[in-house]
């Protein structure tokens, strides 16, 4: 069994606009997990719990197998980097490089070369004050600083918002490097389908403060297909995993199955060759997952 870098055990947290939990989730070590769900579903709350910016009302958070109800010790905090959705105001008056020096003090593994290299690639000048940066530049600084900290656990709350496509690509490559070379575990909250497709190994879906579970990305996507066949009502009744179907013309029917392997085997047995097979997009899969059609443990 895979080791967990982080666990939320039966966590409940009441927030202004929603209540999170009880949530039972874990992040497997050295994998990238994408946290997906609508706005206000509890994604940022999960992240904040993971850096103890807030504490659970009930349940507990476990870091690398240990719990720290009295505060994360500096050496554990130094293994975690977090790029929040909204930044901490105290640093606003600082120049970027001074803010970086402050962080370098807390992170013994801080890599100046990597920091400089990333700012250079992002084309952000290090002598500017944080509150004078554009939204995208600030985001780039935060990402550079998070990666320079050489974290073992990297938490990114919608990191790509405000990034241009070139910076986005650099970020994706650098996150990958961090996982590959430094053995980091990554949690990435995102609305961008392409980000999930390219980066994620596991998916966690949250909806209205509740977790709908975790799934391995490929096996989830592999199950879902939309298929067109010559009309055969009897066969359609027997096909497994069908969650919607429509008669497209007198001679043709279209259906969506969540058990493609099973459906394909039955079609093959019946000697029926599909007219068209389409893999569902991630957002469509998410919708079926949210309305309860896809059970995941």
């Amino acid at each position: 069994m895979e080791k967990a870098a982080l666990e939320w055990r039966n966590v409940v947290k009441k927030r202004d606009r929603m209540e999170l939990g009880p949530v039972d989730l874990k992040l497997y070590e050295n994998y990238v997990t994408a946290l997906i769900g609508r706005n206000g579903s509890g994604k940022s709350t999960l992240m904040k719990l993971a850096v103890q910016l807030i504490h659970p009302d009930k349940g507990e958070v476990v870091w690398f197998g240990e719990r720290y109800p009295n505060g994360l010790p500096a050496e554990v905090r130094a293994k975690i980097a977090y790029v929040p959705e909204n930044y901490i105001a105290e640093e606003n008056g600082l120049k970027m490089d001074d803010a970086a020096k402050f962080r370098a003090f807390w992170y013994p593994g801080w890599d100046w070369q990597r920091y400089e290299e990333l700012l250079h690639r992002f084309e952000v000048p290090g002598d500017k004050k944080l509150n004078k940066l554009s939204k995208g530049q600030r985001r780039k600084f935060e990402i550079a600083a998070a990666l320079a900290a050489k974290p073992k656990l990297l938490l990114l709350d919608e990191p790509s918002s405000g990034l241009d496509p070139f910076a986005w690509k650099t970020m994706m490559n650098e996150i990958r490097r961090c996982v590959d070379e430094d053995g980091a575990t990554v949690l990435l909250s995102t609305h961008i389908v392409e980000e999930v497709r390219r980066m994620a190994d596991y998916l966690i879906l949250v909806d209205k403060g509740r977790s709908l579970g975790m799934a391995e990305k490929d096996s989830l996507l592999e199950r879902c297909r939309e298929i067109w066949i010559s009309r055969d009502d009897e066969l359609l009744d027997e096909l497994p995993g069908v969650i919607e179907s429509a008669i497209e013309s007198s001679g043709m029917v279209r259906f969506v199955t969540l058990d493609y392997a099973g459906a394909a085997a039955l079609l093959d047995e019946a000697g029926v060759k599909p007219i068209r097979v389409r893999a569902l997009e991630l957002d469509e899969v998410m919708e079926h997952w949210m309305n309860g059609s896809i059970p995941t443990a």
């Binding site: 994998y31 994706m172 990958r176 996982v179 590959d180 497709r197 390219r198 980066m199 994620a200 190994d201 596991y202 391995e216 990305k217 490929d218 592999e222 297909r225 493609y260 392997a261 394909a264 085997a265 093959d268 000697g271 060759k273 599909p274 068209r276 097979v277 389409r278 893999a279």
Partner: protein, 129 residues
């Protein structure tokens, strides 16, 4: 390096199997030469937009078959392929394609004789070009 694997989403064949079959044939036909260092599991998975879990399975299977070897700290390499194996694999690939052809012919009601006739005819046309 970027490996030319093409994923067919309409195929009922599992993803790991598609990748495995294509990578195996690239190695066996010598298109990826002996001694080549393959991309890391995470690089390859990003390239194909699949998870590392899938690629790890592919590398492990091909390692068990003796086509790949992983050296700790350096990466995964292509090992030597026997000439006999190479011939057998080539035959396998063509045979699979022929089976596919037979399925298609059968689905539109062609008899084996009709298929043989068509195959001969097409081969003659190709030779004349």
């Amino acid at each position: 390096m970027r490996i030319p694997v093409q994923i067919n989403e309409s195929s009922a064949e599992p993803l790991y199997h598609q990748i495995e079959t294509q990578l195996r044939s690239l190695i066996v036909t010598g298109q990826i030469a002996e001694g080549t260092l393959l991309p890391s599991i995470r690089e390859f998975s990003a390239d194909l937009k699949c998870s590392v879990i899938t690629i790890r399975r592919v590398y492990q299977d091909l390692e068990n078959e003796g086509l790949l070897r992983t050296r700790q700290g350096t990466g995964t390499f292509v090992t030597k392929v026997d000439t006999d194996d190479r011939e057998a694999y080539k035959k396998q690939i063509v045979q699979d394609a022929v089976r596919e052809l037979i399925d298609t012919a059968r689905s539109v009601g062609y008899t084996p004789d009709e298929l043989r006739l068509l195959l001969d005819e097409t081969l003659r046309e190709e030779e004349r070009r």
